[in-house]
Amino acid sequence: MRKEVIFALILGSMLGGVILYGINLANKSASLNPQPITETTSPKTPQTTPPITPDLIIATPQNHAVVFESELTIKGSSKPGSTIVIVSDEDEKIIDTDDNGSFDTTVELLGGENNILVSSYLSSTPIASASLQIIYTSNVIE
């Protein structure tokens, strides 16, 4: 009788261990998968590569991107010390690039079509420019 009790206790502990291991395994596999979502938030469709000139690169957004928020982040790079002028149907910005020539700003969007012109200048001398057409919609597209 005692033997059976002890055996049952040991077997119970082993089963508990197995359950814990299983739950851990399940949690790990579940928590590993969602990570790529944040990595894939930047549009990467090859057909919609943004206009790239050697002196002005628009890293994000892609040209012809469809966005779901009224505030659009524009990131890119040009020559160090250059000034970036961004004009759109709704907003306008004049910003300086950092020491590496990178820039990062936000512009307000209108619902529907948004044409954005990004131009780079060294003092008042034009370097390069790029046009973007962005569609803003607040409705989810299935």
Binding site: L15, G22, E113, P126
Partner: protein, 214 residues
């Protein structure tokens, strides 16, 4: 008795959970233990499967949103269930499906309500080169947007009273009005300084809304 206990304890200490899952590892396992293990394995498999399905669906949704493209142009021809769309110099073939939604004059419409020369926003996915599978087609007013212009040049003179500045750009002097709503400081507008400005065409003339003086 003590010997048996010691053997059992050493099994417990040195056996890994993976070994415990193995149905052949324990000679003493009974049918009910195997059932419990099977149930447990099935439960774990189900949990993993459910999580994977949820994640897969989430990823699919996100990927769909990311791969969406939007073009604004003119419908140049219409045939059954598809249309040709002119965007600048480029021509796209637009395929429609049962799930494609249409909006015209701000109201829900049908494929048949689309007309040649309609200006439309096409939201969809590029399936092949120059072919877009449309998710949504929105007919919009035929009004081309006019962006403000960027004027870069050198300040020639400033009329502080009338808030007017003459800028020499590409060898031509032109007068611009400095907007009152902007936070531009007139004392910065010194002659011979370089200037970058955003200019809007308004009834009063060409108005500078933002500028940077170097």
């Amino acid at each position: 008795m003590i010997k048996t206990l010691a053997i059992l304890l050493s099994i417990l200490i040195f056996s890994s959970p993976v070994m415990a899952i193995d149905s052949t590892s324990s000679a003493t396992s009974s049918v009910s233990d195997e059932t419990v293990r099977d149930n447990l394995e099935n439960r774990i498999k189900n949990i993993v499967k459910e999580n994977l399905s949820t994640t897969e669906a989430l990823l699919k949704e996100r990927l769909n949103q990311i791969s969406l493209v939007g073009y604004v142009g003119q419908i140049s021809s219409i045939s059954s269930e598809s249309l040709t769309f002119q965007f600048g110099q480029d021509t796209f073939q637009i395929k429609t499906t049962d799930k494609t939604t249409y909006t015209k004059n701000g109201q829900v419409a049908k494929f048949t309500s689309l007309a040649i020369k309609d200006r439309a926003i096409i939201i969809g996915v590029i399936t092949k080169k120059d072919i877009i599978e449309a998710k949504r087609i929105v007919v919009v007013k035929d009004e081309a947007s006019t962006l403000p212009t960027v004027v870069a040049g050198t300040i020639v003179s400033l009329d502080t009273k009338n808030r007017k500045v003459i800028i020499n750009s590409s060898g031509t002097d032109k007068t611009y009005i400095i907007s009152r709503r902007s936070n531009l400081k007139l004392e910065n507008y010194l002659p011979s300084k370089s200037i970058l400005s955003v200019v809007h065409d308004q009834d009063a003339g060409q108005v500078i809304t933002i500028a940077k003086v170097f």
